[in-house]
Every structure is written in C-alpha cells, then in structure tokens.
C-alpha cells in the first residue's frame, strides 16, 4: 500500500533461506514460462550501427535500480543488461535491486568505492538518493540519472527519463477527444492511480487533469491502487459500485490493470472505455484484439535504460552523440509518451514489456 510495504519485501528477500532457494531454482527450471527469455532480452536494446558503437576505451558502467518486483521495473533492468552486452568494451556492474533507500545508498557507495567509470542510477526515491549521487559526481564519476529525478542538478551529468506529466496529458487528450467525438456532454471519468505518495503519480494525475481540461472535462472519481493486480481489482470493484455509470477510465499502470480489468469483467460492465498506462505486452495484445474495454495505453518506455547505458558509455569514453551537433551530450533527455491504439499497436508491440 505504500513504499514501506515494497521495502519490506526487499528485506524479506535478503532473508531467503538457502534450502528453499535451491528448491526454487529447481522449480523455476521446470515450470517457468519464460521459455523465450533469450530472445526477450534483446528487444529493448538497440543493435550496433553507428561509428560511436565501434569498440573504444574499456569502461565499467555501474548500475543501480529498485527491486524488479514489477513488470516495468523488471524490463528496465533487463534492457540495461542486454544493451551493455552489445558492447565488447563495456563491463557492466549491476547491484541487486532494492526498494530500501538506505540499502540503495550503500550500494551506490559500494560502486563508487569500486571506482566505476560511470554510474546509471534509477533511484527508488530521487530525493533520498541525491546526496550519494552527488558524492559520485564529486568523486569524478559521471552519473546518468534514470527516470526518477534527483533533487539537485549537481547530482547528475545527464537525466534520461519518461514524461509522467506527458503520459497523463496524452491519456487525458485521448479520452477527451474520444468523448467529444461521441458527443458526450458531461462525462463521468474515472482515474485509477498508482502508489499515491510517489512524485510520478502526482505528475501523471496533473497531466491527466490538464489533458481533460482542454475539452472542458474533469475527473469524476479518483482512487489509488498500489501497482499490484490485487489492489487494482479491489479498488476497481469498489469504484464500479461508487459510480453506476462511467464514460471513460484511465488506469495509470498496466500491471495493476490486469486486476482492474478483471474487476470490470466480474461486474459485467462495458458501458465505458479504458486507457492503460506504461504499455505492457498484455495490454497491447488486448488493444489489438479489441474485445475488451481497453482501447488504448500511454507508453512509459521501458527501453529508456538501454538508452541510458548507451549514453553512459559515450560519456565515459568522452564522445558526443552522432545525430547532434556539438562535442558534449545533452544534460537531459525526456522520452515521448506515445498513445498506443489499435491503429498503431503493431509498431509498439515488439518493444512492450511483459
């Protein structure tokens, strides 16, 4: 339900008992459904192609991110790793993901101690990790800040991330436009947010509000889930009780969306349409099939970590970007949050996370 809950899970993992883990490895080996894991790994990474991709100075990239306990986050780590593997001149040093800011601080300190050439950090909480990132910068290690922003520009060389505000904005614009086209005058619009005390949730909601405002609409009911399917199911089943008629719903996250959709099916409701968030494979398949209330999703690209690895390597090797003029890399890079609908879904499906 809140950050501490996620942090708790991480501590539990540290307590893993050896015996059970051994059994688990065995079980995972026989029953896991990731039979196509090897091909999965590459789809978020870009193949080598330009001058910059030719082998250069050997560099070590340190990588730290929150626990991969969620589809999107798992894809981030996986894509970063896959991208690093593309380069023979990159040594990739990743630490075990954690949702405990305290543990993440120590991990980053460890990476600093190992004197990596460049750091890619996706902080669990940007504010909490700012000072340790600044320590790295002070120690002469450039930091690529991934997604969740540090508090101070002194703490990073380059920021690469998604556009949470833009994500909400695009969802709002899509819904507004669709309702306008249908000629609905005063629609009831629902919003199922993610974990409410995260900065990104606030930005998404602000963007959504503004997108709707363009068409003179506003959010009728807003409730927060916690990015898990069971919370999505629980919250949505109650929301459907609260509003006997809905026109549209934006759900911030496709993982929790599985539960949200289940609740809608169980309640037998279909008078509205829904827009998802983040862009999971499951959601895109549903959009393509066009047989559920889910009509669109706004992407929050999980391949941003691959780009970050690319940039990190260039920074460490003191190179610029080919397609830009100038010696130095940009200081920030905001990735576009595309709206995926039935029309363009084929274009995005390969890059979706599962």
């Amino acid at each position: 339900m809140d950050k501490r809950g996620l942090g708790g899970m991480d501590r539990r993992r540290l307590l893993l008992s050896g015996a059970v883990l051994g059994g688990g490895a065995l079980v995972a080996g026989c029953t896991s459904n990731k039979s196509d894991a090897s091909t999965d790994d590459v789809k978020g990474a870009s193949k080598a192609g330009t001058d910059n991709d030719k082998p250069g100075k050997q560099v070590t990239i340190g990588f730290s991110a929150p626990a991969a306990d969620h589809g999107w986050m798992a894809a981030i780590t996986k894509n970063a790793m896959a991208q690093a593997k593309q380069y023979s001149d990159v040594h990739f040093e990743a630490v075990e993901g954690t949702n405990d800011v305290n543990a993440q601080i120590s991990q980053v300190q460890t990476l600093i101690g190992k004197k990596v050439d460049v750091l890619v950090i996706l902080p669990f909480d940007g504010k909490a990790l700012t000072s340790v990132a600044q320590q790295a910068m002070d120690a002469g290690i450039p930091v690529i800040n991934l997604d969740r922003v540090f508090d101070s520009p002194l703490a990073y060389r380059t920021w690469v991330g998604g556009d949470n505000f833009g994500m909400g904005l695009n969802a709002g614009l899509y819904i507004g436009k669709a309702l306008k086209a249908k000629g609905v005058s005063s629609p009831v619009i629902g919003e199922i947010a993610g974990i409410d005390n995260l900065e990104l949730t606030k930005q998404r909601s602000a963007g959504f509000k503004q997108g709707l405002a363009k068409y003179g609409f506003r959010v009728g009911i807003r409730q927060a889930a916690d990015f898990t399917a069971d919370s999505g199911q629980q919250v949505m089943s109650n929301v459907l009780q609260a509003r006997s008629h809905l026109d549209a719903v934006w759900n911030h996250d496709d993982d929790q969306g599985i539960g949200v959709e289940a609740a809608i099916k169980q309640a037998g409701r279909d008078e509205f349409f829904m827009v998802g968030g983040a862009g999971s494979k499951h959601a895109m398949t549903e959009i393509k099939a066009d047989n559920s209330v889910l009509k669109a999703t706004v992407v929050y690209p999980s391949n941003m970590s691959a780009s970050a690895i690319k940039l990190a390597r260039l920074i460490a090797q003191h190179k610029g970007m080919n397609d830009l003029v100038g010696q130095d890399l940009p200081s920030s890079l905001t990735l576009f949050s595309a709206t995926v609908t039935k029309e363009n879904v084929d274009q995005y499906l390969p890059g979706a996370f599962s």
Partner: protein
C-alpha cells in the same frame, strides 16, 4: 460486565462465587467470561462477546448509507462480501493459529507463491482441476514446512514464519520471473465471476469456510485442544495432549486456507504474481486481534475475526464510494481500528482485583 456474565439461561448476572469455600481472588473477580469458549454457550456468548465489534460494523453501515446513495444496495453488499472473501479465508486459518498460541506471518507470501505456482504455463496446461489442486497443495506443503520447523525444530513461530515470508515470496519471484502470469483458463477465472442465485461463488466459499471453521473450532476435539494448547501449552502437554502434532496441523490448516485464498485471489485478478497478497499477514492479524482473540492464545472467536475482516473491507468500500484520498483513508482506518478495539474491550471489561 453484567452482560458478560449472563449464564446461558440469560437470567441476569451471576452472583459472585457464593458457594463452597471460594478463594480470595474468586470473590474479587467474580465474573465468568472464560466460559465463552464453551461449545454449548458459544452461540450466545459469541454474540455478546462480539457485540462491540458488531456495533462498529453497524455504525459503519449507517455512515456508509448516509454518505453514499450507492452503499445500501444489494450489489454493494455483495462487493463487500466478495472483497472480504479472500482475506476472510486467510483470517480463518490465522485465527486457529493464534488461538493455538502461535502466529503465521507468512500467509501473504504463501498466497503469492500458491498463486504464482498455479498459474505457470505448465500448471495452466492441466486446466482448472490441476490449478486448484496445485494452489491447495502448495499452501498445505508450505504450512507443513512451517509446522515441522516450529513444532519439531523448536523454533518460535514468529521467526519461522517471518523466514518463510521471505523464502516463499522469493521463490514466487523466482518462478514468475517477477512478471504477472495471466490466466488463460477461462473456467478458472470464472470462479470469481460465477454467481448462484445472484450471489458470487466467492461469497459461498467464504460462508462454507466460516461454517466449517466454526464447527471445527467449537464443536470438535480438535478445536478444544487448540484452545487448550494456546491457553497453557505446558498443561496441555502434561494432560497427555500431543502438542507438537497438533501445532503442526494448525500450520497446515493455515497454509491450506492460504491456498484456497490464492485460488480466489488469482481468479479475481485473473493473474498470478509474486506481489499478490502483500501485507495480508498484517491485515489478517489485525482482523483477528480486533475480533477479540488474545494474541497470546487460548481465547478467541472466529466470528469476531470475520467481523473484523468485514469492518476492514467495509471501511475501504465506504472510502472509495465517497472518493476520499489515500491519506485521509489511512488516517481514518487507523482511528477506526483503535476505536474498534476500545469498544471491544469496553464490552468485556471485568472487575480487576
């Protein structure tokens, strides 16, 4: 106090130990809530004992009906009951374990593991029966491991189940590779959408589990021994009870309840994921405690636990119906929990010597 001490006939307060040669303390305490665990009186005493919680629930319903036109509908009642079904079944197992003097902190993780295990591609290929069996078996086996370590390894339940909480969730993450596993077996998903006579199957499952649990706790030798072992483990041992085996069975029971809950939750969310059931251990323990069960064991009520679950789910429902923000929900939830416990305690206060 007088309502607590009413004898089964309901003929008013008991006279304080008037007979024989009473001990000093008997004269001073003079009440008899202890007999609440007696099977022949539980119907009556149970109701009285949980009166406070019942009042809380009624108050909540009044608030719900006043603040939202959508609250007092048949359909909303069914939504509350289906929401309560998953955590309710878990809480039944938890109630047994806590009355028996233990605690199970691994319930949420067992739910996650059972849910993930029964939704792998391989398991799904066996269809509905295979998936349900898998979830129940995983729950029972994890419970068995808990029980074996606790009763034969002589390690306190708190430690064993907290370790299991980590291991089981870790294993769930490993099996699922931290991805949501969507259930494609439609007959499985229909567990959550099937309705008989307009009432969801999940509600029937909860009802059957409550009735079976109540009978097991209050009408069988097993239940009686559970109270005894939780009340005084040494005395139970010296009375010739097989405390170890009984404790073992309690944890298997709790694991099995988690397996059933995993089936329900997985069908509800149409997916298995390692992050399902997060913090369910706290929710179920909180429900047991506000339901009036002693955390130290030996005394408790299954009906109280279920009322506790209903209080929680009703609170959430009212919050959403009124579109309250998360922060206000959390504040109010905390206040209501404390208030419920205070009202519960008021209802059963006895004279202190």
């Amino acid at each position: 106090m007088s309502q607590q001490t009413s004898p089964p006939g309901g003929s008013g307060p008991l006279p304080a130990t008037g007979q024989g040669s009473p001990s000093g303390s008997a004269r001073q305490t003079g009440s008899s809530p202890g007999k609440g665990s007696g099977p022949s009186f539980l119907g009556h005493m149970g109701r009285v004992r949980n009166l406070g919680l019942f009042v809380v629930l009624v108050l909540l319903c009044v608030i719900g009906a006043l603040t939202s036109g959508n609250f007092a509908t048949r359909q909303n009642a069914l939504v509350i009951l289906s929401s309560a079904a998953v955590i309710g079944v878990i809480t039944i197992g938890q109630t047994f374990v806590i009355i028996g003097g233990g605690i199970d902190l691994s319930v949420g993780a067992i739910v996650a593991l059972a849910s993930v295990w029964c939704t792998t591609v391989a398991t799904q290929s066996y269809g509905l029966g295979g998936m349900v069996f898998c979830a129940l078996a995983v729950g029972a086996v994890v419970g068995l491991i808990n029980g074996l370590i606790i009763s034969y390894g002589n390690i306190v339940a708190f430690i064993v189940t907290i370790a299991m909480m980590a291991s089981a969730r870790g294993l769930a993450e490993r099996i699922s590779d931290r991805q949501s596993q969507v259930v494609t077996v439609e007959s499985f998903n229909s567990i959550a959408s099937t309705k008989w006579l307009g009432i969801p199957l999940l509600v029937y499952i909860l009802a059957v589990a409550v009735v079976l649990g109540w009978v097991l706790l209050n009408r069988t030798t097993f239940g009686r021994r559970t109270f005894a072992i939780g009340g005084n483990q040494e005395a139970a041992r010296l009375a010739g009870l097989d405390v170890r085996r009984h404790t073992l069975v309690l944890y298997v029971l709790s694991g099995l309840c988690c397996g059933i809950a995993a089936v329900m939750l997985t069908a509800r969310t149409t997916s298995g994921a390692s992050n399902l059931g997060n913090l369910y251990e706290l929710d179920s323990i909180a429900a047991v405690i506000i339901g009036g069960t002693l955390l130290t064991g030996g005394r408790g009520s299954l009906i109280g636990s279920i009322l506790g679950v209903l209080v929680f789910t009703t609170i959430t429902n009212i919050f959403v119906l009124n579109n309250l923000t998360t922060d206000i929900q959390q504040i109010a939830k905390g206040l209501i929990i404390v208030a419920a416990v205070l009202i519960q305690r008021r209802g059963r206060r006895t004279a202190t010597p």
